[in-house]
Amino acid sequence: MIAEIDIAQSRPSKRRSGTVVARLTNVSKNYGEVRALRSVDLDVHAGEVVAVLGPNGAGKTTAVKLLLGLAAANWGRVSVFGGDPRNPENRMRTGAMLQVGRVPETLRVREHIDLFSSYYPSPLPLADALRAAGLQGLDKRPFGELSAGQKQRLLFALAICGNPDLLFLDEPTVGLDVEARRVLWDEIRRLVGRGKTVLLTTHYLQEADALADRIVVINQGAIIAEGTPSDIKAGTAGRQIRCGSSLPIAAICSIPGVLEVRSDRDAFVISACDAERVVRELLTRDPYVSGLEVTSAGLEEAFLALTQNNAQPEASRRIS
């Protein structure tokens, strides 16, 4: 029905040659009946940014928790810097930003950072940590009086204040406005420029695209695609076509490259993995196409494409 995603031939990321600093090998994790991760293999190489992309409940946070040694795998091996993630010496080289419901609210920003900095052998100066997280001037404010975005930024500050080599960021930009998100992205890029390694989870394709050297797409606990951002976008049916057409819906469905068609008021909305080809074919078949619009598909469409592509799930398309 649609073109194969040819991830197997994707070019390796520029940083792939680095040493593996974090690795999941054939890892499965169950929470009771729920299979949070199913035979997942994941490598993070020194100096690269890996984005784990997936919808809520896909298993992203579970993967991070395993790599942080907060939960134990039911099956498989988890290693960080070649050892157990719970080793104190590994933790001293690792920073983590997790999704937290509530942080002690009566402590001030600088007190939180002061405490976390003290855990590490060579932390950043307070002023640097504040600047990196965009919290200048807020250092005396109690946590409880920060805005949602500022709270998120403090959690980022706690992750980086120890100047760690490896950073795990679980949905770092949730709750941030556009401006704050850009600032955080810039900061993550600066960290990578200084040789840090970053694994972040997100459910924004755009965010993964903006930051990552490599994207790992995960759904229902399994990796369904992995590659550079351009590989993933090429493979994820990036776009949606909206137009009026006199063709019946079945005829549109039969055009190669069309993933899904639905009719929306007086127009059709077509999800396609190869928009140019579909548009060309559409214009040939129907001279009366009107109001043609092509837009980038959201993650929802991207997932639709990827999950449909992987109707036979096993990871034959995975690189390596």
């Binding site: 040493t19 593996v20 937290v100 007190e111 052998p121």
Partner: protein, 269 residues
């Protein structure tokens, strides 16, 4: 996969002892500061025993004697026990339940914090609040209740209650390792208030119904209460047995807490 997994050389594998101690101190300092600035904890845990003491120990029963001693002295021991128990149960039970249930504990666990520092800090905070409560009660008793404590006696009472409070830190930890963040305060109250009453901390044990007098020795607050009463001259039973009961109960609670934390790792991670 061409890349190899190696153990990268790390600069500072061992943390010097001095730095470890500094972390413990900082952890305790900020835990205490955070609590002190939280009126729902700091005001209520201190004010409840003080209010009860003023009412029942200083105003209503003026001049009476219980168990052969001035009621104002007797009730420093019992409301002191009540106070340190509250500070520990709420500090640990509600504190740990919140931080565990809402993800903060995971951030701490993922960091290179020495894991025991988290608990040690909370014990120090609870002990500090316990000491404040006992000192306040003794001051009030000596100023307004005609209580005469020598320095040795005052120190012994303070030390007994503050050391004994660790047993309730363990109990709070056991509650906090299972309870959800919203239910923890209710669970703590449901255990704290009936136990205090049945252990003779509100009304002297001699005045409780016979049935309750028999149940009381099963409850840990009874034993700490008797130890404290022993210092003011109104204790029953052998101190050694009371300490044994408290230590046994604390160990049981630590075991329960361990099960709770292990369950977390399996189910929610």
């Amino acid at each position: 996969m061409s890349a190899v997994v190696t153990t990268l050389p790390s600069a500072a594998i061992q943390r010097p002892l001095r730095q470890t101690l500094a972390i413990y101190a900082k952890e305790a300092k900020y835990d205490f500061l955070g609590r002190l600035r939280l009126p729902v904890y700091s005001i209520s845990t201190v004010m409840f025993p003080v209010m009860f003491y003023i009412l029942f120990g200083l105003l209503l029963n003026r001049g009476h004697e219980v168990g052969g001693v001035n009621v104002a002295a007797y009730m420093i021991a019992t409301y002191g026990t009540f106070g340190v128990m509250g500070a520990s149960l709420f500090g640990f039970g509600v504190g740990v339940a919140m931080e565990r249930g809402l993800g903060w504990l995971q951030v701490k666990r993922a960091s290179p914090m020495p894991p025991f520092a988290y608990f040690a800090a909370k014990v120090v905070t609870c002990m500090a609040f316990s000491a404040i409560i006992v000192l306040l009660l003794m001051t009030l008793g000596m100023l307004f209740g005609g209580v005469h404590f020598g320095a040795a006696e005052a120190l012994k009472l303070l030390a007994t209650l503050v050391v004994g409070s660790v047993c309730f830190c363990a109990m709070g930890l056991a509650i906090g390792s299972f309870a959800g963040p919203n239910s923890a305060p209710a669970i703590v109250n449901l255990l704290y208030l009936p136990m205090s009453f049945a252990s003779g901390l509100w009304i002297p044990i001699e005045m409780l119904p016979r049935f309750l007098q028999r149940v009381a020795p099963l409850l840990p607050p009874f034993h700490l209460g008797q130890l404290a009463l022993g210092v003011v001259g109104a204790g029953r039973g052998a101190n050694g047995q009371h300490w044994e009961a408290l230590i046994g109960f604390a160990l049981l609670c630590l075991g329960i807490a361990r099960v709770g934390f292990q369950r977390d790792e399996r189910t929610s991670g």
